[in-house]
Symmetry: C2
């Protein structure tokens, strides 16, 4: 894999050319541009909107309908308490610092990274070493660029900088501040040392209702709404496990300094699945056998720890058997994500699954893999697929008292023998006053081993001493009349458990952008014109399937155009008529840029014998046949049952109009 | 039209029964319920989400694809300046007042209305008159209920109250405050007079970016994003007029006290069209002839002015010809809205189009009609269809200087003769100092008649006197050397104009709720069981099309179930298997409540001869045939090419299982 982005045809990707084309064709555009724009906000124009709709439609079919997932649509507005419990209020933040001179606000980690990297680059230049632009590392795609100067550093300093960079994701605010002071890191634009990093929560805050006392946020992910509805969804699913919920909707992150176009925005479309599974029994998946031979390109944790980025291609069945991927359910979804990406037209040579490092994962996650797509901004995380364990359901249940659990009748009752602690609450109050609850909790939190020891102590001394955090001297003496600790046998007929959650989480905007780059290429023209852009989307994903062009704006063609559009519309095939005065070649060029896979020309011959030409976007070759045959060919290509190669074999080639393209 | 809501079968609608069913089947549910819920926020569960997706999908086909509209997806986050210009910052507000005792916050107009109505009701009771619960008036659906006491009022007072109520939408905050004091209106819950009304802006506020200095709001409608992109959309449309943009997305209103379930919420899905049309030439529509015979139920302005609510059924062609509906384009969309409502299954006997009163409309609107659907909360505005004139494009163009206009080459150049004003800017500065701009603007704003007069004055007196607001004594003397006013002839080859906008704006959540009520009915059971609910959605709208039930949970049925689901999925028909242990009757009942139109039973006979029974939700009658035949029947019903009556004629009736339903 080269670190330089290429087009679909292997040409070096000229991002400026692509950007100009996407803008010209209104795939997306900065929001509020006539008001000067707002960073990180983009509107999708008609073709971008069509792409979005087709990708989400395929997503719904591939995941939700294929597996009977329970789709929900929860609100974006979320009260403070929910996101406090989930941990977002405290932890969903970045460290930011400010340039004292020009007031620029920067992400502290990106700042440290950029300046140190610039120094290392300068060192290499001074040493006469070749400097490779490294876009391989996904962490660096967000960074602010700092210019390098050719200054040689001590070997020890180089090593120190490299160690800092390797650990950059692990520093807190004060550590980043220390690094800035220690290495005298200055903003290259002003020469100033930025301010001490302060925490900046990335959630947009608002208040709900007229009295302004209910603080709320715009959700940073769709997941919480699904967790909160767990009990209702389980009931809707007639208490049957496992099952998955799914949600497609917007989420919000108030990025400190959004830069990379659609790759880092403040408002974005997500599609998330929460697959709830019994934690016992190894998290098997009943349909795993259907995907076990799917080959994935994996970049595992150990490889990354050794500082390398070499991937290997492994069948998911093998990856789960060897323990590389934690369990079948996680593996199943990795394979399904791969198949989805193939379906929408992602270039598989630019796709990999990267395992999270231990320090990258949330503390509760067991295993997490990102599906990354390679673009001109390097490797981009487009889908995260994490095993979140029972964390979310547990914290919400603990906070609210809602039973976010599954109760299963056991086929055979089980007999449990264990040490049990009975607390005499009436005696606890008088004995421990305000500490009663804490002492009780400490007793109940003891392990089986501890209880066995305590039971002996109780029998021997008539009292036990337990360590209790926050109480006077950290110890509490509990007399025998206030507690019983006994080894008992009991029979259980039901089992209660909190499901674990496997969460595939898609960033639709990022995926859309990567898909555009993967399907972009340019076609040279004979006349030495500027290279013409083409977006070779698969027909299912293309915003419009068919361009209908009359040879000229002659009124005679109108009834034919109308009839043909209506026929296609009935088949559910989106088409667009272009009866502008531009040449046919120009009209086709415009639609190559829009990614329209097929073109139909209505000409004077059509008026005589009702034949039409059908043009393939990618090869520009054309066939000609009677209208019914052409419509059937369109249907077959759009629904995927035939390819253009099939159609070319079946129908007579037509060599007429493309001449005009070259001649334009 | 009765003012009491009825079911699809004309039964009195028991809202409590319906609500319980919608909750049980998770059509929608209060958001964050385990945290106590937040007023005006609802989540859609799987069937509600399916309904939403199907309604918006049909909307996209009916409007966007049918008319080649340009769909866009703009951000919800909107900076202050945009909504300041559009008028929302200043005017998108309600008056609220607070009870000094219990702190309750109320909408002032709703409060006045509720208390006066309770007094009028009490008066009627005291006079021994029959009290009719009036749910006809759409304005009253939002109100807080106040209990009435049987107290007789003076005739003059009754008349005064009635006059106040008729004008309730026209009062400002201080007037509402006066009414409260004048009539000693007290909160029935506390006996207190509420505080003076204060304005409460209904937009959710937030700040964008880390420095907190860019104030923003969550958009209250999707329209502004479409207006701001007008120039790009026009270019995308190859400068061809007329055209429409469209957008489906969430909008937000921070309601003071949301009450009526899905009918008044704080976060909701909208689908809006902005049809841009040349204001000259009577706003004709090229496809008007296709709809002119569509009959609409209209409640016009004059009828309402006379205090009546009688509707009349008129062909839209006739309504436009007679001037009742302002123009063809507006009429075209009213008819298209009607056809859409019919398509999704709205009961046309519970639909009307109500024209806005002059004082209800925004000051810039020419004409506006609401499509109202009748529900248990009275008549509900589900779609607004307004002619917004050139207002929005004009204000944004004025504020930003962006050319939100259409330039058309004229077929024949036109010669214009008129009075023109030339200002000598160099002389204005020294003459008027800080008032220079204001004086210039006043001169340029003069009419042709005024200019003719001023020209004479200039020639006669060597100076003109103009009225300028905000300048010293309101007048400015401009000498002849600083201004020229001449009658000149010029030739124009292009015409520049700001398009007018016709805006159909759909509240999808409200429409969805009304659709549920219109399709709900109950089926009695022979055994005297509780009445069983049915939702008779048309197949296109139904969340799931087919329920597949095995006779029992016998493992032999599994392969058949899987094969059948896969076949249906390939046809794009959503199905759901219910292999729970409940009786077939119970499983069908559950799906009647979910609105699933068809049911297929797999039984032991199936294993022998591959025949299946197909059940119709509405009649509960069944047919039996070979799998291929049944699948083809399902396809035909779902795509609308056949009805159940057709299928019943073609296939042999089956009388087996429904027995089990009665016997359950």
């Amino acid at each position: 894999m080269s670190s330089t982005a290429t087009t679909l045809k292997g040409q070096p990707l000229d991002k400026a050319v692509l950007d100009a084309m996407l803008r010209r064709r209104m795939f997306y555009t900065p929001s509020f541009e006539i008001y000067g724009g707002v960073g990180g906000l983009y509107d999708f124009g008609p073709p971008g909107c069509g792409l979005l709709a087709n990708i989400t439609d395929l997503w719904r079919k591939h995941f939700v309908l294929e597996e009977d997932m329970l789709e929900v649509d929860c609100t974006v507005l979320t009260p403070h308490e929910v996101l406090k419990t989930s941990g977002h209020v405290d932890k969903f933040a970045d460290w930011m610092c400010k340039d004292p001179k020009n007031g620029e606000i920067m992400r502290a980690d990106h700042f440290v990274e950029a300046v140190l990297e610039a120094r290392l680059k300068g060192d290499k230049e001074a040493r006469g070493q070749k400097v490779v632009e490294d876009t391989e590392d996904p962490a660096k795609k967000k960074k602010k660029k700092a210019k390098s100067e050719a200054v040689k550093l001590d070997d020890a300093v180089v090593q120190e900088y490299e160690e800092v960079l390797a650990r950059i994701d692990n520093y807190g605010g004060s550590e980043l501040g220390e690094l800035i002071r220690k290495y005298d890191l200055r903003n290259p634009e002003t020469g100033e040392i930025p301010s001490e990093p302060v925490s900046f929560n990335l959630m947009f805050q608002t208040s709900i209702g007229p009295s302004s006392n209910l603080a709320g946020y715009l959700r940073p992910e769709t997941a919480q709404g699904q967790f909160l509805n767990f009990a209702k969804l389980l009931e809707f699913n007639q208490s049957s496990m496992p099952f998955a919920s799914a949600s497609i909707g917007k989420s919000y992150r108030n990025e400190i300094s959004p830069r990379a176009g659609l790759l880092r925005v403040r408002e974005f479309l997500m599609a998330e699945i929460e697959h709830f599974v019994d934690p016992l029994g190894g998290k098997k998946h009943s349909r795993f056998s259907e995907v076990e031979d799917v080959e994935l390109v994996l970049l595992d944790r150990d490889t990354q720890l050794s500082g390398k980025t070499e991937t290997r291609t492994v069948k998911i069945g093998e990856a789960v058997r060897s323990g590389l991927v934690d369990n079948e359910t996680l593996g199943y979804f990795l394979a399904r994500i791969h198949l989805f990406m193939v379906k929408i037209g992602v270039d598989t040579s630019k796709m990999r699954f990267r395992q999270h490092m231990a320090n990258e994962m949330a503390h509760y996650a067991c295993d997490c893999w990102d599906c990354e797509l390679h673009t001109s901004s390097g490797w981009i995380e487009c889908v995260g697929c994490a095993d979140r364990s029972a964390y979310d359901l547990s914290v919400h249940a603990k906070k609210t008292g809602a039973p976010l659990v599954v109760r299963q009748r056991l086929d055979e009752p089980i007999v449990i023998e264990e040490w049990e602690v009975d607390v005499e609450k009436k005696k606890f109050g008088p004995l421990f006053k305000k500490d009663a609850k804490a002492v009780e909790a400490a007793l109940l939190a003891t392990s089986q081993e501890q209880r066995e020891k305590l039971a002996k102590e109780l029998t021997g001394n008539g009292k036990v001493v337990v360590s209790v955090e926050g109480v006077a001297d950290g110890k509490a003496e509990v007399p025998a009349e206030a507690v019983k600790i006994e080894f008992r046998k009991r029979t259980e007929y039901t089992r209660e458990f909190t499901p674990n959650v496997i969460e595939p989480s898609f960033g639709i905007g990022r995926t859309l952008y990567a898909l555009i780059e993967h399907n972009f290429w340019t076609r040279g023209t004979e006349g030495g014109d500027e290279a013409r852009g083409v977006l070779s989307f698969p027909p299912t994903v293309a915003p419009t399937k068919v361009l209908i062009v009359p040879l000229s704006s002659n009124a005679q063609f109108k009834p034919h155009l109308k009839k043909l559009s209506q026929r296609l519309r009935k088949l559910g095939v989106s088409s667009r008529v272009d009866d502008s005065s531009a040449s046919i070649g120009k009209r086709y060029s415009r639609n190559d840029e829009l990614g329209t896979p097929l073109g139909v020309t209505v000409d004077f011959q059509t008026l005589q014998d009702n034949t039409l030409t059908l043009r393939d976007r990618d090869s520009t070759s054309q066939v000609r046949a009677e209208e019914d045959t052409i419509v059937e060919a369109i249907r077959a290509i759009v629904d995927g049952s035939k390819t253009w190669a099939d159609i070319e074999k079946e129908l007579p080639k037509f060599e007429g109009q493309e001449v005009e393209v070259a001649a334009r």
